[in-house]
């Protein structure tokens, strides 16, 4: 029986909004109003942050019944409201092996996760401070206010929390160091300049639970005795910025920020600085330069930011996810947090899993979870059950990890031993139709644009790597190219000014290490084994396999495919631009790739 305590949670994360979630929410509200369910007995429609499974969005969930619907459209509103008391709408439920499942945890995508940072994301209304407080928000802060800075730092040290932006520096150590300098003003800065291709962990956290980030910053400020904090948020994250600003305003109004934090003598002011769109400004010292209004270039970090950071004052810079982990550490204690994870990497990590995996989206798992669990158990495996080839972790700083290493636990240290890194949490899954040389070229090309260009190794090394990799992809590779790439890469790792430059060659060096044969095929045989590099590949249709469905013909942007319905189609090689669209479109694997004769 409906009694008015029910809630309909509509995921309004960036991904679901793109799929029409705002329309769904409006349609649901209209439907409820039409049925007089918005008056005395009101059912709230809550626009939440990212619930995680972006690929199946918009996602709608009924509470407290825990009925989860996927791929909901505005047209489904009536049926969805009907099902509040009746039978669930079958076509919107999670389906596996012909069976339908109603609850969130019936879906292994959610069941295998362990949400700590994201525990409120997708459940609360990010624009409501009351929602956050109702779920234990600001309890951590209240406890911190009864503690000395030293006690707060000890609690964080006990948790074993390490910087989740990718570097993995122990947060407690950083805070203790910053607290040791008797020099004011001090600053606490939140790094929300997430920029790795395919990564959206921090954006979703800021959108979905902005108060957790703010609470983390206040606790950090108490620990190092800072009275000013800045959130540096990338320009593209308009929604995150709006939600954070809204949360800051609410926190001021509630007496949580400002001259007197919850009635105590402590004060803290928080403000937002918009990033200018430079990837390199995610690097700590470049970020601070940018806040100061200077060109976003890193400086040598032999004197650490905790001593001389923003405006040459002691500064703590933490990543969004690290800060969002702080409230729960203070609330439940560092030891509880440290129960999760591995010996040296405690707690959980949020990943943005994208690419050729069946279920893409936001995933939070304990540190030490294997890549295989992430890709196959949570992600559901590769699209079309094609063979797995590699997973690219950590964005342009990371590496490509082959199948042989899928059972490695993902934490701060293990992947580094293999030349890759966990990084900030971006993960791009690739199947057998990904060319690893082309992947390396893509990242080098990205960095050619996004390096700050200040130091020689990074700027000039990338310029030359891009030229050599482009040559290899286009059939002009030469003997000795692989060795030259390695030589430049190793120099860059040692001699670059900042972490961006030192890790920039990782995509190249790891693909050479694990997929050297692909490089050799490109250089020696002028062929692209994955059938991706257009200059080396030609496409043909296998007449025995082709069923004449016409999908490839419709997908072809160059009008190069012809054929009668239900008869084998053919590709006109003079028109074909080797884009691969036909191969992607074909459901029966009838499009073949072969070496293009030179």
């Amino acid at each position: 029986m409906i009694n008015g305590t029910e809630k309909i949670l509509v995921c309004c994360g960036t991904g679901c909004i793109a799929n029409g979630a705002l329309d769904v929410a409006a349609a649901l509200e209209a439907e409820l109003a039409a049925r007089n369910l918005s008056g005395d007995i009101a059912i709230d429609v809550v626009r939440t942050g990212c619930s995680g499974e972006c690929e199946q969005g918009p996602v709608v969930r009924f509470m407290p019944r825990d009925l989860m619907y996927y791929r909901v459209s505005a047209k489904d509103a009536a049926a969805v409201v009907d099902s509040l008391e009746g039978e669930p709408v079958k076509k919107l439920l999670f389906r596996k092996d012909g069976e339908f499942f109603e609850h969130m945890d019936d879906n292994p995508y959610y069941a295998l996760q362990h949400k700590v940072v994201l525990k409120d994301v997708g459940i609360i209304d990010p624009l409501s401070i009351d929602d956050y407080i109702a779920r234990g928000g600001y309890e951590g802060l209240k406890r911190a206010l009864t503690m000395t800075p030293d006690e707060i730092i000890s609690e964080v040290e006990k948790s074993g929390l390490r910087g989740k932006g990718g570097a993995g520096f122990p947060t407690g150590t950083k805070w203790r160091s910053a607290a040791s300098y008797d020099e004011w003003p001090k600053y606490i800065v939140c790094n929300g300049d997430e920029g790795d291709p395919g990564a959206f962990m921090d954006g979703s956290t800021m959108e979905g639970c902005p108060h957790a980030v703010i609470e983390g910053m206040i606790i950090g400020a108490l620990a190092i005795q800072a009275e000013e904090g800045i959130l540096y948020i990338r320009d593209e994250y308009a929604l995150a910025r709006d939600h954070i600003q809204h949360a800051i305003d609410d926190a001021y109004a509630a007496g949580i920020l400002g001259e007197s934090i919850l009635g105590t003598d402590h004060k803290l002011d928080l403000s937002i600085v918009r990033g200018g769109g430079a990837f390199v400004c995610g690097e700590s010292t470049a970020l601070m330069q940018s806040i100061e209004g200077k060109v976003g270039e890193p400086r040598a970090k032999y004197v650490r930011s905790v001593q001389r950071g923003l405006f040459d004052h002691p500064t703590v810079l933490n990543n969004v996810e690290s800060l969002a982990s702080i409230p729960i550490i203070l609330r439940e204690g560092g030891e509880k947090y440290a129960e999760l994870g591995t010996e040296k990497s405690k707690g959980t990590k949020v990943f943005a899993m994208v690419g050729k995996v069946k279920h893409t989206g936001l995933v939070e798992v304990p540190m030490g979870t294997t890549l295989r669990t992430l890709i196959y158990d949570i992600g559901g495996g590769i699209i079309g059950d094609r063979p797995f080839k590699a997973i690219q972790t950590g964005g342009p700083s990371g590496g490509c990890i082959p199948e042989s290493l899928l059972d490695l636990p993902v934490d701060f240290d293990t992947l580094v031993e293999y030349g890759a890194m966990m990084g900030s949490g971006g993960m791009i899954v690739m199947d057998d139709r990904s060319c690893m040389v082309e992947v390396a070229r893509y990242y080098v090309d990205f960095l050619c644009e996004e390096s700050c260009g200040k130091c020689t190794p990074c700027r000039e090394g990338l310029r030359q790597m891009r030229k050599i990799l482009t040559d290899i992809c286009e059939g002009r590779g030469k003997d000795g190219d692989i060795e030259l790439l390695e030589r430049i890469g190793h120099m860059m790792q040692d001699a670059s000014l900042c972490a961006l430059g030192r890790t920039a060659p990782n995509p190249v060096l790891t693909t050479i290490k694990f997929f050297r044969n692909e490089y050799e095929a490109h250089i020696n045989e002028k062929s692209c084994p994955a059938g991706v590099c257009a200059k080396l590949t030609q496409f043909a249709i296998d007449p025995d396999k082709c069923i004449g469905c016409g999908l490839c013909q419709r997908a072809c942007p160059a009008d190069a495919i012809s054929g009668e319905r239900k008869e084998a189609h053919v590709i006109d090689p003079t028109k074909c631009i080797a884009c691969g669209s036909c191969r992607e479109a074909c459901n029966v694997d009838a499009v073949l790739t072969e070496r293009r004769p030179s």
């Binding site: 040598a300 020689t456 030359q464 891009r466 030589r487 040692d494 001699a495 000014l497």
Partner: protein, 256 residues
């Protein structure tokens, strides 16, 4: 931290024992002891080094660990061994020279340095035609420390260059030539006629001494320097001003 200032340390650089103070940069200690470390972006005129050419990298062995550091900005913080010419440093410096020589093929000297270091595979690298600038940033440092701030590095990544805002003539430029004079590769071009100087797309009128006719600089640079010490823009050169002053003193004290 303060109790450690002025603490004297002994370090070895290439096997030579050197005395230094805690916090001194490796480069400075090496230089004082006659040990040559090559660099392209460091200039004695500035305290803040950009540390961007990376040519001055050295190997640092401390507490059993070896790492590569940039000697021009690495403050020595304890006893250590430093190697400026290890095999690894020579190899990486060679690659750096090769990269710079291909970036700026017209920069004097770079090509020879690369050749001297025996860089293989050089012909494989791409060059930028007619480029002289190695982006050491000294010009930008000179301009900003003068207080003019007319030029800066612009763009990112491989497209980075030094320029005025939007490549337009800068209202802040005084045509003083500090940028061109500090440039190690003569990459900053300017044109002078009998009465004008053109640099960074802006033409300046030259000013000559009212007394002796010596070139004093552009009108803007002379006025800028005077304004810096709160004086009116002079009309005579320094030499003539001194002569005039000496004359006046002679008359005043009746030495004539």
């Amino acid at each position: 931290m303060s109790e450690n200032v002025n603490k004297t340390l002994t370090v070895t650089i290439d096997g030579i024992e050197c005395i230094c103070e805690k916090g001194e940069y490796i480069f400075d200690v090496a230089k004082r002891n006659g040990i040559y470390i090559p660099t392209l972006c460091r200039h004695d005129a500035f305290d803040n080094h950009r540390a961007c050419c990376r040519i001055c990298i050295v190997e640092l062995k401390q507490r059993g660990r070896t790492k590569i550091v940039t000697s021009c900005v690495y403050p020595i913080d304890g006893e250590c061994e430093i190697f400026t010419q290890s095999d690894k440093i020579r190899e990486e410096r060679a690659v750096l020279y090769a990269l710079l020589a291909h970036r700026a093929p017209d920069a004097p000297g770079l090509g020879q340095m690369g050749t001297a270091l025996n860089v293989n595979g050089v012909d494989r690298l791409v060059t930028i035609d007619n480029e002289k600038c190695i982006l050491c940033g000294l010009c930008v440092q000179a301009c900003s420390s003068l207080g003019t701030g007319a030029i800066s590095t612009v763009n990112r990544g491989v497209d980075k260059k030094v320029s005025t805002p939007f490549d337009k003539p800068s209202v802040f430029c005084v045509g003083c030539l500090s940028c061109a004079n500090v440039c190690p590769t003569n990459a900053i071009e300017y044109v002078e006629t009998e009465t004008t100087r053109t640099i960074w797309n802006r033409e300046f009128e030259l000013q000559f001494c009212d007394e002796c006719g010596t070139l004093m600089g552009t009108r803007e640079s002379v006025a800028f320097a005077a304004a810096d010490v709160e004086l009116e823009s002079p009309i005579v050169c320094d030499e003539c001003r001194k002569k005039k002053l000496a004359n006046e003193m002679m008359i005043t004290y009746r030495f004539v």
